[in-house]
Symmetry: C2
Subunit: 399 residues, 2 copies
Amino acid sequence: MESTKPEVDQYRRRLLAAGATGAAAGLAGWSPASLAQQKPLPPFASFKDANRMIVHSASGIETKRSAFGTSGITSNDILFVRNNIAAPNASITDNPDAWVVEFDGVTSSRKLTVADLKQMGLASVSMVLQCSGNGRGFFGHKASGSQWKVGAAGNALWSGVPVKAVVQELGGVREGMRYMTSTGGEVIPQGVDPKKVMVERSVPWTAMETAILAWELNGDALPLAHGGPLRLIIPGYYGVNNIKYVKRVAFTAEQTGANIQASGYRVRPIGQKGAPTQPSMWEMNLKSFVTSPSGEGAVKAGTAQIHGVAWSGGSPVSAVEVSIDGGKTWRAARFFGQDMGRYAWRQFVLPVRLAAGSYEITSRAIAEDGTVQPELRTENERGYAHNGWRDHAVKVTVA
Amino acid sequence: MESTKPEVDQYRRRLLAAGATGAAAGLAGWSPASLAQQKPLPPFASFKDANRMIVHSASGIETKRSAFGTSGITSNDILFVRNNIAAPNASITDNPDAWVVEFDGVTSSRKLTVADLKQMGLASVSMVLQCSGNGRGFFGHKASGSQWKVGAAGNALWSGVPVKAVVQELGGVREGMRYMTSTGGEVIPQGVDPKKVMVERSVPWTAMETAILAWELNGDALPLAHGGPLRLIIPGYYGVNNIKYVKRVAFTAEQTGANIQASGYRVRPIGQKGAPTQPSMWEMNLKSFVTSPSGEGAVKAGTAQIHGVAWSGGSPVSAVEVSIDGGKTWRAARFFGQDMGRYAWRQFVLPVRLAAGSYEITSRAIAEDGTVQPELRTENERGYAHNGWRDHAVKVTVA
């Protein structure tokens, strides 16, 4: 979205001048993580546990590495929040069943309410939601955007109707449609070219096979901060594709021309502008990180149960290795807890005896197809898709 | 615990007279569910979502049938609460790592802190926690105790150290020990015979194979209301065996003589007193219930996705059938969501076209060993172990 900056900044200044700071959520400027903990939670995320979050901005709130615990599911109290533009008015979640979503590019185009969707099917999936820029804070070139470390990711339970069930009800996808293009219900500020700020994303149409339209998150009605009343959930895909407040799902011959698709969320060399020819942020790559030790508290000499999480949007994770010496040597970790399916993350643990000294503790995941999580990040303009294990290491002093 | 009533009531009166209502949690009298919704949440459970709970008493709080949702996990905000006697002072959760638990009946008896336990291993399990008396409210003979309907049960993620790992560290279980006998950290009121009110339960010692000592619930530090800082978790066993504030785990030759074991939680004919010769409330039986329609809201004509949950402490659930005509005819439901392991509950769904009219909707689970959830409850004095599908039916009028 960097190409929209001038307009967005102008809009933000206008709002701030009018004192409408709440409405500016999602448009506020970025700031380094080091300053973040002073910031209050924005109103739409006030239910979060502030002690376990890092507030980068009113639209960028990260889970602390130490907060993930060992239960496998990231609770609503700590799941990260990221909005591209301001969320709609909170009143849209007052009566979730009345929310309307339009389907197009199917045999019988139609508008359906959530109440209608609830008659059509039911599915629940455990899925890692991760911001494309998670790990951006480790890049060296000051990539613009939230300076996330590890916590713009979480594994949650999403329930709703399978997109496929709805599509079947509407007679199937029309011939020649190659993308599923979905649109968020955010309000476009007056005077701004919609294409420049609208949240509309296209993914390969086959993604509908596993996608759901979700109204429930970890057992609660989907909160506004996470896209309620209705969010498109595409297991294995980066967060931006999981359209919040989804108001339209269309099967299209081409990708949307909206900036967020055409030039935004494109992986390209540092200094280059975004363009449709560059790779789009679709399926997540293979990644893991250690959640304990987190680097936040002191570690005493003795046995440490080093644990963390591993996941992939592609070939499933088959093993995880842990290093305590910055990658010189590796040992096989053991999975623990329940396997929650191929789109969930898997928890791993390795008991290690730590004597007094300094350690650099990290993990690397290995996928069924033999892919190994790489050591280094792939340098790119916007700091996307960071899965290098070196930057994700935790430096620990054991006393 | 009915035999302890005189002492408990006396204690409660004394406390209430002194204005120490908070400390009386767990000792308050029972009252019918119909009056329950007026009661406030007790302080130690104030974090619960009152709108989704039924407060029977300060120590008996049930999840509404309509509150379970479709995510599979019961969040901390709505998980039921049941204490036999007052919880210890909330300060015990201030520094969970300092909590001490004593191990006995092992080669090297020892006291260990939670910090020690955290070095010894790590496990996480998805497990149904269910009160022995869940469903008591359906019995006809006014069995004493909370008049639970379906919601003294929930499926949650518990993390901690495997008991077996601790036992191995302590040299193994001593010869001849046939029970694992564990003791809660509740404070016994002065002047009361400890045996009459203490929470100490024995289970077959082999239960240690899957048991954990848990300090985490659904990703949060285990709250006091659920047994924090440390709770014994025995997958597949009724709630009472999952000792809260556990301060001692002993392998013993005999079952404890505490009333809660010797005469309490014993299944016997109506009118009989409890005795050690009667079956103890250990492994949970095969059970399911419908969570939607819940009978609370109106149901419109059209397709309803009838859904619910099924579980067993014994042979795993292999199928669920649903009836909309009070058990005259049955149709096979489909499982949905993730299988979270043999101690979790499984979600099922059946889409049914409902025309205007009256329905009696219920479910019955079938286990791998061929067991079928029965139609009727087994009548028993204390209203334990109710898994009859007829009483669990929801009456629905479709308009």
